[in-house]
Symmetry: C2
Subunit: 281 residues, 2 copies
């Protein structure tokens, strides 16, 4: 079982809800740096940024994306984040537009004081992302860091319960979710966002901490819904949901190794031990 | 693919939230009959009753359960429900304490105008149920009826995303959930019940109609939380949540075959077509 752990210490996690500007990579990186410095000053050790935080989301064309995407970890955006993480002795998970051998991915990079740690490429592409990106080909990696075992999911990945189940089974304790949530077609905008319901359910049924950093703003006519949140491994919010339209930084203190005790419900029940793998594999 | 369907008609579904009395099978069956007649009079064609609706829940001993459990479909409780369904030309899903060859199961029976249709035996046993019942050995059956393809899950089954995923993949359109939800240890009783969050997420991410009939009352010191609800295949409530403590009948009109269109999100995305079975099987 991969659930042995020695991360029995607390971690201050921050989710930066902000509004990237489409196409303005340099300005976005400056905005990110400013907010990362603020979160670090308030004690954050693990900082989550939105999906495509460096590029914006609503590309007009493949050519536009090609002009914005960069390699990971060698591109300018990745290198600036790596330098920040190293300088501040923190971990950062950020969505980035990635190009690799001429192929484009909607990716997220994890870096820390030790430098580049790893990349996740979004497996489930939403709507017109299918025109620009290839589906992720790196599976669902779990990164073992001194803070805890970190998994990453991006936006529409969260609509698939298997995403969290697979990460939990592989030993993840904390899932960082860079996202650009859009209004669901069937969603009453006044009610709780379905995105939040899905992540509460995932955190609760898997006993995982989940930290979602959404963007805000309206980009080329496409609104984004904010409502970033940080969930306890019981499924209940530790911070947020943030506002629907404003920039904001959420903070919460978590102890990643608590997933073990939070999966054990009583002397009879364990959220993983009770799985009927004889029936559903 | 099992998603061909010809159930393109609407069905009125009712969830009966009521308080069974522990050990009083005859009185419980009378109470059930009265409420089923009321729901039928209001047009219900598919009626869902709580978990262990005939026996109550908090058994003092294995001997007590043995004195209450009955065979399905030949026992008195099953026969009364089958007779009601036949008389009223309706379908009923009810939790029942089942004995089969000396083994006890926390089961649910589906019957209709044509008589007995099938049994589901709870796969995930909660807490002290493990002292009294065997884990279900019938898998997750889907019953093809003239109303639609019906799956069944009972209470703690809903804590496992695989339950709904498996039923959806097998072609289920409507999941009936007889339940006896208890307060979760980490639940603030003033907030929305985690049970409701889990079922909203399951309905949304699988594109399934889900009808949960909970019990109410305090039995031998154990409170139950009510809040029955009927969910659209988008995940949003069509009826409920019902009150936390009062008896109540919820009604909703659904069209089971709508699951097909509700799983199709836009020209690029389909909740099942987008699954990355190459990664998570």
């Amino acid at each position: 079982m991969p659930f042995e752990t020695n991360h029995a210490h607390s971690v201050t996690i921050a989710c930066i809800q902000y509004e990237p500007k489409i196409g303005e990579v340099e300005a976005n990186l400056n905005a990110i740096e400013e907010r990362v410095r603020e979160a670090h000053a308030k004690g954050a050790q693990l900082i989550v940024l939105p999906e495509l935080a460096n590029s914006g989301y609503v590309f007009d064309s493949a050519e536009e994306l090609a002009s914005l995407a960069q390699p990971i970890p060698d591109g300018l955006s990745a290198q600036r984040l790596i330098a920040l993480a190293s300088e501040m002795d923190i971990y950062i998970v950020s969505g980035l537009a990635e190009v690799s051998s001429g192929v484009f991915y909607n990716s997220a990079m994890l870096c820390g004081p030790e430098g580049y740690i790893g990349t996740y490429r979004k497996m489930h592409l939403w709507y017109r992302e299918n025109l620009f990106f290839e589906k992720g080909d790196l599976g669902l990696p779990v990164f073992d860091t001194p803070l805890g075992r970190i998994g990453i999911a991006i936006c529409y990945d969260g609509w698939f319960p298997e995403t969290f189940r697979e990460l939990a089974i592989k030993g993840a304790e904390v899932i960082c979710v860079p996202t650009n949530w859009v209004p669901m077609p069937d969603q009453d905008p006044e009610t709780e966002a379905m995105s939040n319901i899905l992540h509460k359910a995932a955190a609760h049924s898997n006993g995982l901490f989940i930290a979602c950093a959404d963007r805000v703003g309206i980009e080329r006519g496409q609104p984004f819904i904010g409502q970033s949140l940080i969930l306890d491994a019981t499924g209940w919010p530790l911070a947020g949901p943030a506002s629907r339209a404003g920039e904001e930084i959420l903070y919460a203190e978590i102890t990643p190794s608590d997933v073990l005790s939070k999966r054990r419900l009583n002397e009879f029940n364990d959220k993983f031990g009770d799985r009927r793998t004889d029936v559903y594999g």
